[in-house]
């Protein structure tokens, strides 16, 4: 066998749990060559992140266990190297972008320090590192890079944090970059920039890119080869084109078939009094104006999608509506009453009617509560919803609905994959049967097959129970399939609003048009031809 840049052979990873061992990765093999991009596709929870973590020596052993296998890097088995030898490789030769950027950034250090540390840890002087950190922030498109260096992770938006992770990983120009869902929180325009940046770097240094993603469009755009995983096993490998056009495994076929953006668009039918009317909402963090006068209505049983640039204030909008953040101005009328001016006591009574799925699911789950406790807490708080005797049954039902197994109820949040946690958060929001669910990137970490299942579930709830959704997403095909109305945001401003059809078929604002144009097609051939046509302008953007 020829020498690959990195090669994983027959990797088996198990985790200990109270209910017995769980095999997360079951005999996985793949390789990556210099200058190549390998995409790992797969169902949520199929072992993508765990196998990447094994390469980076990030599995806690115990309770984890690498039962078998080897990871060959330049002919040496990484698994047999000493801690110190691996340390020298980490970051400098092999870098990783984590799936869950909030949890993976140290909350107590400024981002500038954290990015510089990547370099100082490998012997670069602090001054030089600071320079490069600034440049990197500029490259990943963080606004006000000088100021951003001194800010802390919690002061950034989800997508910005993800870009910070990317900047950090790229700092040492590694030979191998493992990117675990690097664009889940990025809108398509920024995603395009980031992907272009990665490719450019690849061209420059011959970096091997291992891209873990659920997004067929991204795969079509950048991947040379594809590995498809399901339930801990590799079920299919091949070039991106082959796999897309001739999927061999049933799972792969299902995956490709489930790609969103093909269904009929919703025609809004709901009428009557708005459930939620937002009037001129503003919010500023010190000097940063995150929301600059947002107004729109939401009718009962309707889905309003909020799309827009990363950092445009979408999450802020959601958090302000839920009173997690105090608004700076404006009103939000919920069934005629102003949410923002309500007393805390009145707000308590209202909480049940509005639920939220947070953008960073793992941080929104109490690490000390089992899934059962997490979901059933809703009923503990509002005992009138469900008698205690039925809790187990209902938890099992909800878990099944979001594509998890009832067995999972006994596990704790840290024992799940990113997508699984997101689904737990969704199940928790559903448990309360609210009138409105605010979904902040709620399906962004799910592979398309499960995404389709969850969207179908939400759609059904909307129809059966009349639940309304404020659906924050970057994934335009999903929005197209699910939403009734769309609100487009940029830089804290609402730039355009309208029905799905209006937005998708006849966008008025240039930003909306740019957004739609930047959307990726799951077909590698289509993407290849698009790439050719826009090659020149994309580079100019950087």
């Amino acid at each position: 066998m020829s020498e690959h840049l990195i090669e994983v052979r027959d990797l088996v990873v198990r985790f200990h749990t109270a209910a017995g061992p769980v095999t997360a990765v079951d005999g996985v093999s793949w390789y990556l060559d210099r200058g190549e991009t390998l995409a790992i596709l797969g169902e949520s929870g199929s072992g993508k992140s765990v196998s990447a973590s094994a390469v980076m020596d990030l599995i806690d052993i115990p309770p984890g266990e690498i039962a078998r296998g080897s990871v060959l890097f330049e002919g040496r088995d990484l698994l047999k190297l000493s801690r110190e030898e691996r340390r020298r490789i980490h970051g400098k030769r092999i870098a990783m972008i984590f799936q869950d950027p909030l949890a993976h950034l140290n909350p107590t250090y400024s981002v500038g320090w954290q990015i510089s540390e990547m370099m100082t840890a490998h012997g670069i002087s602090r001054a030089a590192a600071g320079q490069r950190a600034l440049e990197l922030l500029r490259r990943v498109g963080i606004p006000d890079p000088e100021g951003a260096l001194g800010r802390y992770p919690h002061q950034f938006s989800g997508g910005q944090r993800q870009r910070l992770m990317i900047a950090m990983a790229l700092a040492m120009k590694p030979d191998i970059l493992i990117a675990d869902e690097p664009t889940t929180a990025l809108d398509v325009t920024v995603q395009a920039e980031v992907l272009a940046l990665l490719k450019e770097l690849q061209k420059e240094t011959g970096m091997g890119l291992l891209l873990i993603t659920h997004d067929l469009g991204v795969v079509a755009e950048v991947a040379d080869r594809v590995v498809v995983m399901n339930a801990g096993k590799v079920v299919e490998t091949g070039t991106a084109r082959d796999v897309y056009h001739n999927p061999a495994h049933p799972y792969t076929r299902r995956l490709i078939g489930a790609a969103p953006g093909k269904g009929a668009m919703h025609e809004p039918v709901a009428t009557g009094e708005p459930l939620l009317r937002i009037e001129n909402l503003t919010k500023s963090y010190g000097a940063v104006e995150a929301l600059k006068g947002i107004s729109f209505d939401l009718l009962p049983g309707e889905t309003v999608a909020v799309v827009g640039e990363s950092g445009s204030g979408k999450s802020t909008l959601a958090r302000t509506l839920l009173r997690l953040e105090d608004a700076s101005g404006g009103r939000a009328l919920w069934k005629g009453r102003d949410l923002l001016a309500m007393s805390t006591r009145d707000m308590f009574a209202l909480r049940r009617q509005i639920q939220m799925v947070f953008q960073d699911p793992s941080q929104s789950l109490n690490p000390r509560m089992s899934v059962f406790q997490l979901i059933s807490e809703a009923w503990a708080i509002h005992p009138d919803i469900l008698p205690k005797a039925r809790w187990r049954e209902r938890v099992a039902e909800l878990l099944t609905q979001v594509g998890l197994s009832p067995d999972h109820a006994r596990r704790y949040p840290h024992q799940f994959s990113g997508g699984q946690r997101q689904r737990i958060a969704i199940a928790r929001a559903l448990a309360l049967e609210p009138d409105l669910i605010v979904c902040d990137e709620a399906v962004s970490a799910l592979d398309v097959s499960i995404q389709a299942q969850v969207i179908a579930l939400l759609d059904q709830l909307r129809r059966d129970l009349g639940i309304a959704f404020l659906f924050i997403a970057h994934d335009l095909p999903v929005v197209r399939d699910f939403a009734d109305h769309v609100v487009v945001m940029q830089g804290g401003r609402l730039v355009e609003k309208g029905t799905v059809r209006q937005i998708f078929d006849t966008p008025k604002e240039p930003y909306t048009r740019a957004l739609l144009a930047a959307g990726l097609d799951p077909d590698p051939d289509v993407q290849a031809s698009r790439r050719k046509t826009r090659a020149a302008p994309a580079l100019a953007l950087l």
Binding site: Q363, S364, S370, I381, R392, A425
Partner: protein, 310 residues
């Protein structure tokens, strides 16, 4: 009460392996040190409950013939294996009898201060209003109020009693718990899952007790276990004022301080009760470290793992 609720998760859906109690015991069995600690504490508690009824007479009757009898000799009966004190009373019997008062005072004082401190700390940390500020300034005042003065004041205003002793000891220790709890709460309340709970409509009470407290508890318990030793020793210095436990009643702390003048020629007088205090503290701390692991799902494998391997 809260901790057991967390440990004893209702075993949802999947078949539970044994009841919550047996699971906890199994986890205790895995940690041999904690097991020993548990057994030792059980012995101490048994002594505390029954010792005084069985041995009180032997432990308080002076017998000058056995004065300062050295340990490890059976000449004065098996109860004197640890030696006898300055009045010839067997030390073993005295330690057993003293465990009741010692435990009553130490448990009382530590529990009161930890409870009050933690509750106030939760309030001060979670409420951003004026109330929290006032609590913190009160803590400042208590912190700089000399405990001896407090003791003297209590002594003069109230009749000396074990209850007052506990009050004095508890009040002086409240600020540590209060400030530690508050510091942790300040950070934890910023975490996302607390916001998630708010969104679900959880009351402040629930957020504080169910989401914040479990994370603070291990730290509080760690401090509390060490405070146990502190309280046991401090209590004897208040006996000197006439508050609380008075000779011929005994506590370990009192035994230690009485043995002080004999350090040069009869070390065992202070040594054995001192050892009892050390061992109790050690046991409590081992148990609290064990509990920290049990309560933390991320760490719990340490106590579950060997089950599958062994």
């Amino acid at each position: 009460m809260l901790s057991t609720e967390i440990v004893g998760t209702p075993e949802a859906i999947a078949v539970p392996r044994g009841t919550a109690a047996t699971r906890v015991l199994r986890m205790l069995y895995r940690d041999k040190l904690a097991l020993c600690a548990g057994i030792f504490l059980l012995i101490v508690i048994t002594c505390a409950l029954f010792g005084p009824y069985l041995l009180n007479d032997i432990a308080t009757r002076p017998n000058l013939r056995a004065r300062n009898a050295p340990p490890f000799s059976l000449a004065h009966g098996w109860l004197a294996v640890l030696g006898a004190d300055a009045l010839g009373r067997p030390l073993l019997a005295r330690i057993i009898v003293a465990s009741q008062n010692t435990m009553a005072v130490a448990c009382g004082a530590v529990a009161c201060s930890a409870l009050v401190g933690a509750v106030l700390g939760l309030v001060a940390g979670y409420s951003r209003g004026r109330g929290g500020q006032i609590i913190m300034r009160l803590a400042d005042i208590i912190m700089s109020f000399p405990s001896l003065l407090l003791a003297v004041i209590v002594l003069y205003m109230l009749a000396p009693s074990v209850g007052n002793l506990i009050v004095v000891l508890a009040i002086t220790r409240i600020p540590v718990y209060l400030r530690t709890t508050r510091a942790e709460v300040l950070e934890i309340r910023e975490r996302m899952f607390v916001q998630a709970a708010t969104v679900m409509g959880a009351s402040r009470m629930r957020i504080v007790l169910r989401h914040i407290l479990p994370i603070v508890i291990p730290t509080i318990v760690t401090i509390a276990t060490l405070d146990f030793a502190f309280v046991m020793l401090a209590e004897s210095s208040l006996s000197f004022l006439g508050i609380g436990i008075q000779p011929p009643q005994i506590t370990w702390g009192l035994m230690v301080s009485q043995g002080r003048s004999y350090l040069a020629n009869a070390w065992w007088l202070a040594f054995w009760p001192g050892l009892a205090i050390i061992l109790t503290t050690l046991s409590l701390n081992l148990l609290s470290n064990w509990m920290r692991v049990v309560l933390d799902p991320v760490q719990r494998w340490r106590l579950e793992m060997r089950k599958t391997e062994a």
